[in-house]
């Protein structure tokens, strides 16, 4: 498993003797994602769970059979779990029960710790991506982990790579994870809304609405989020056919409001990139009403995006109107990037 081991980041220059140096040394980066590694980790996790389950079943069956063999009727001393068997098997039965319990507790604690870290990683994705990556690298190699936790961990890695604009790797992780069963593919509306008290509600439609929970339900929401990320990665790589497929997948499921807004923005990007100008401007009024629910930069970006198709179709009044609105909504950096 040496190829999966996290590597120490060479990017951080050590400052002699300081806490920064120790922090830099402790920082780890995730190795390039390989689907085979994830498959192996999931297989090992499953093997551990099955082993526990089989041992438990054996324990129960042996207990019942020993009880039946040793009892003449109800109330006989042998008619219970192996722990009380007078033949000496009782001691070993109790030991096995304790071992099974310990293994179960170990697995549960390992999963609980990883779930706890998942929350920290989610919080760090925006403010300290290097630390988030280091935590992902450390947690990935825990064994055993519950399958949803393992998948969510890789989901966070996909989010990280997506934010680092490493679109090829992010797309590969997304595609791989989408190959696994991720709970309900039809999460209830708005499952992606951040689970923090959202006092100014428009903030909820930001791009950082990764599912925050590690519950199985959250893995259902993950599917939609993965598809959204995959679409964006493919648009960034100019893979329009791939983006179309991902958008079709997104249209098959029922999405929450935030996800619907994100899908609409991605679909517009796709339509503009593919030259479907009329489709991009179709029902513009309702599209813009929805865009107004997004944070200002995202709303402004959508206005900027629509200027080109309006111009190509000779609708200069509309193009000017969109431009004036974009000037009020976009940050100076966005406007400068647009030229």
């Amino acid at each position: 498993m040496s190829d999966e081991q996290p590597t120490t980041s060479p990017a951080e220059p050590p400052s002699p003797g300081g806490a920064d140096a120790r922090r830099a040394e402790a920082m780890q980066t995730c190795p390039p994602f390989r689907p085979a590694v994830l498959r192996r980790q999931i297989a090992l996790d499953s093997a551990f769970r099955w082993m526990l389950l089989i041992l438990l079943l054996v324990f129960i069956l042996v207990g019942i059979s020993v009880g039946e063999a040793g009892s003449g009727g109800v109330g006989n001393a042998g008619g219970e779990v192996p722990g009380s068997d007078a033949t000496g098997g009782g001691g070993s039965g109790l030991v096995l029960l304790i071992v099974l319990g310990a293994a179960w507790v170990w697995m549960t604690l390992s999963g609980a710790k990883a779930a706890q870290r998942l929350g920290v990683i989610t919080a760090l994705l925006d403010i300290d991506p290097a630390r988030a990556e280091s935590l992902i690298a450390q947690t990935q190699h825990r064994w055993p982990l519950p399958r949803p936790i393992r998948l969510l961990l890789y989901h966070r890695l996909a989010v990280l790579r997506h934010r680092q604009q490493q679109f090829a790797e992010a797309a590969l992780i997304c595609r791989t994870l989408l190959g696994y069963k991720l709970g309900s593919a039809d999460p209830r509306p708005g499952r992606m809304v951040a689970a923090t008290p959202t006092l100014r509600l428009g903030e909820a439609s930001g791009s950082s609405t990764a599912p925050t929970s590690s519950s199985p339900a959250a893995t259902g929401a993950v599917r939609s989020h993965l598809l959204l990320m995959l679409t964006e990665c493919q648009l960034a790589a100019n893979d329009l056919a791939g983006a179309y497929q991902a958008l079709m997948e997104l249209h098959r499921g029922r999405l929450g409001l935030i996800e619907s807004l994100q899908r609409m923005a991605l679909q517009l990007r796709y339509e503009v990139a593919a030259g479907h100008d009329a489709a991009a401007l179709h029902h513009l009024d309702s599209k813009l009403r929805l865009a107004e629910l997004m944070p200002a930069p995202a709303c402004g970006a959508l206005h900027l995006l629509l200027i080109a198709p309006a111009q190509r179709l000779g609708r200069t009044t509309l193009a000017d109107w969109l431009h004036h609105r974009a000037e009020l909504l976009c940050t100076p950096e966005q406007l400068a990037a647009q030229g």
Partner: protein, 328 residues
């Protein structure tokens, strides 16, 4: 919340009703019984498994484990249902269906008293919806309730305090609002501007307009577009208030004199009435580009003054695209 016989009639709850509802359904956190019962049952199951003798009783530990498993499943399903309802309420609020959102949040509150985080979210949603339906006194009751239960310096608390200042301005508690805005003055210089700093600027502008400090409002509007930008289309409210300040200044008799140069570099240039009118028209066109005139006047009735002014009507922009119909 009082509603009349018809389904569409709606009256927001009074502050007293809000107080009573929040007190009656205060967050209690998870019950101790619910927390410790699974562990106690597990211990009981182990004790039974080790000690009980006899065929019939031997299955009791397994029955206990099965019951725990079912209970855990039911509990998880219920949590998911409540979470789903809270998200639905939030989505309704985002879609500006505030009355429906308020109704559902009000009804949801009794079910989430044992879930502190969800309870806080639901109360925050009630407050937000009350503000949006212009029940500012009731909204103040909710904001005070929330502020009393969170650390004073947390980002959420700072945002709530700005929201409270705006609600106070809307409900004529001008002195209280002034004190809050003064205390949060540091937000004025936030770089880059944030949603909270933008709300602060909107609150200050509203305060200046409500207290007829129109000159101050006009003077501080130099960077208003940048300062309000994080609010998205709702920045239009601020632009409209800036237009109102300039409009009022243009109407004042003492302004009917030629523009004078500023006495020092920091002082903004004094404009003549014609320039004031042009400035007012510019701000009004920006405001109406982002929001409809009806939405503006509905939120701030004093903006009706601009709506009725013929010169302003001429500069009103369309907040929806002129030729958005499909080309086909």
């Amino acid at each position: 919340m009082s509603t009349s016989a018809t389904a569409t009639a709606f009256a927001p709850p009074s502050p007293q009703q809000v107080h009573a509802h929040l007190e009656r359904y205060a967050a209690t956190g998870p019950s101790k019984v619910a927390t410790w019962a699974p562990l106690a049952l597990l211990v009981a199951a182990v004790v039974l498994a080790v000690n009980v003798e006899g065929g019939a009783l031997a299955i009791l530990p397994w029955l206990i484990l099965l019951a725990m498993f079912i209970y855990s499943g039911v509990r998880t399903a219920r949590l998911r249902t409540l979470e789903g309802r809270a998200i639905y309420v939030q989505e309704l609020a985002m879609l500006r269906r505030h009355v429906e959102s308020l109704r559902l949040a009000w009804r949801l509150l009794p079910s989430v008293t044992h879930l502190v985080e969800l309870h806080t979210r639901t109360v925050a949603l009630i407050g937000h919806n009350l503000e949006q339906v212009q029940a500012y006194e009731s909204a103040l009751a909710v904001l005070d309730y929330l502020l009393a239960r969170m650390p004073a310096d947390s980002p959420a608390a700072v945002q709530l305090r700005v929201q409270r200042a705006i609600a106070q301005l809307e409900s004529d508690h001008l002195l209280d609002a002034d004190e809050t805005l003064r205390r949060l003055r540091d937000l004025a210089d936030s770089q880059p501007p944030t949603t909270v700093s933008a709300l602060w600027h909107l609150g200050r502008l509203l305060q200046q307009v409500r207290t007829h400090h129109d000159q101050d409002a006009a003077d501080s509007a130099a960077n208003l577009v940048e300062q309000l930008r994080p609010l998205g289309v709702e920045a239009g409210y601020g632009h409209a208030l800036a237009a109102l300040a300039q409009h009022r200044l243009a109407q004042r008799p003492q302004q009917a004199m030629p523009a004078a140069p500023p006495e020092d570099d920091d002082e903004p240039a004094r404009l003549d009435p014609q320039q004031r009118r042009q400035e007012a028209a510019l701000w009004w066109s920006r405001a109406t580009l982002l929001l409809s005139v009806d939405a503006l006047v509905d939120r701030f009735p004093e903006l009706g003054e601009l709506k009725r002014d013929a010169a302003m009507v001429a500069t009103t922009s369309r907040h929806t695209p002129k030729d958005a119909a499909p080309t086909s």
